[in-house]
Amino acid sequence: MILGASAPFSPIDTPSIAWLAIAPVIALAAAGILVVMARALLRGRPAAGAVATGLAILGIGAAGGLLAWQWFHVRDHGPISTMTDMVRTDPFAVYLGILVVAATAAAVFLSITYLRTEGLEGPEYLALVLLSAAGMLAMTSANDLVVVFVALEVLSIPLYVLAAFDRRRLGSQEAGIKYFVLGAFASALLLYGIALVYGATGTTSLTGIAEFLTARRVFEDGTLLAGIVLLIVGLGFKVSSAPFHQWTPDVYQGAPSPVTAFMSSATKVAGFAAFLRVFLVAFPVYRSDWRPVIMALAVASLVVGTFAAVVQTDLKRMLAYSSISHAGYILVAFAAAGTDDVQAASRGLQAALLYLLTYTFMTIGAFGVVTVVGRRTHDGRHGLSQYRGLARREPVLAGFLTFFLLAQAGVPFTGGFVAKLQVFASAVDAQEYWLAIVAVLSTVVAAFFYLRVTVVLFGADDVAGAHDEAGSDEAASRSPRSRRWIDVPAGAVLVVSVVLVVWSGVFPGFFLDFARDAGSLLALP
């Protein structure tokens, strides 16, 4: 006790922890670690694979249950703030957390058969998905720029590995390296932005920054503005908005299809969770500075996403560009949520949240079909000619794909229509009429390429130019590996997605209320 004798003993005040607030994150992370352990210790036993999958599903189920508990707790008792206010579990966080967990479950179910047919079975896939999802959940409730950054890294690093998971396929390796290099660069920019914002305001807490900026005027705000710009770049990269979208088509195309489904849905939800919260909570005072930038990103994403998608000949690339244009719609609602008119702002936030919900299920469905179809060719070829005449060979899959494409185009009675309508209405409410017009026009152009794919699906096999692919496709369908079936887990994902997209399109009331409740309690000024 020499130390104790010389220095007076004074216990450090450890922060109080509300375990309910971080329980879902712990559930996913623990499941990830247990999956690795189960496979490491049971190596070679036949039950190992089933045990790992079971543990993963158990962890996701536990996280989902805890999030449901959180939702009712937060609704009745108000937001939970814990760890010296670095984590704030409010309806906004719980809502987006539920979307992340749903997307994670879909990614796991889609991959069960995929991994077996591709010979990629291993605990690593499930563990990486679970750990990445844990980072995404942490991101939805992050109330501090440092937590945002740590969560971003926790969700990104497993994704870099997952993108390159199909090591034998060159496209997958390329996707992994590209995503890693560009993603690390974007993370560095974000971190620099955080440092500059900290330098200007003296705090990294989002609410702390807002209090600082409302309490006093910053006269020389060059440092702060530079920090805000870098935050926009770093987060804009993660949600793949133009002009930070260059990685998206290559990575979405090269990554294994279930990973693409996961990346395009859950990552975008987590990215927008941080994007919306950081700017709406921390920088409302500077809205006249960042709102024009968000609008510019929205227009760029809409234009680039739509027009580049028109000329794609690969379905996965086309869906990647369409996801860029979807990011544009969410950014339109984001710009509306940034107005100082409280009514219009909450309307905009509601539209953004609703769009994220329908987008999640539409994109999971589309990439789910791509996953199942891709199994026939080892996930290597997704050219549009590959899909020509799919309606005759595999009518069920073609039906699913048609439905999800029409929903993404915004056909009435699907969730895509309601979500798009909300976005347009929110832009009008915020009196950004030209933004609404751009969004509507890009919807018209987008309808063209979604319908073009549908026409290809229902077209005849023997169209000139498609002979080669069609011939090898016949050969592939004769080989025993490529039986024509939809496995039960993937089929369940597709059916659930269809049900949710139709439900949110025909009876949107429940989802609209859900999104409104989620948005209304985000501490808007």
Partner: protein
């Protein structure tokens, strides 16, 4: 120019001086020395070890050890300050550190079971 930016002026001056000095030294050497290259002089290691054949510069299999090393290195970075403050951190700190070490140890168990510690 505010005090804040003036502080950075020193950094700029320092970068300039560094570039100037290195440039001057290398440039002067280049101007003064005679250049008579032979094959022996042009190999990277003047010690005479061949950089291409045999074991190479380093075996790629060492990367696993490098990864495991980083794992324990990070562990040490956290354990040293924790150990100094153990008494003040109390039971909470002890449990936290046990959880941290267990998670890292599980990583080692995984690597072990995967057979990466065997050289052959």
């Amino acid at each position: 120019m505010t005090e804040f930016y003036r502080n950075y002026l020193a950094v700029a001056v320092f970068i300039g001086a560094a570039l100037l000095m290195v440039g001057a030294m290398l440039g002067a050497g280049r101007l003064l020395r005679p250049t008579r290259p032979t094959d022996e002089k042009l190999i990277p290691y003047e010690a005479g070890s061949d950089p291409v054949l045999g074991f190479g510069q380093s075996n790629v299999r060492y990367y696993v050890y490098a990864l495991l090393f980083v794992m324990f290195d990070v562990e040490a970075v956290f354990i040293f300050p924790w150990a100094v403050q153990l008494e003040t951190l109390g039971t909470f700190g002890l449990i936290e550190m046990v959880i941290f070490i267990v998670i890292l140890a599980l990583g080692l168990v995984y690597a072990w079971r995967k057979g990466v510690l065997r050289w052959a």
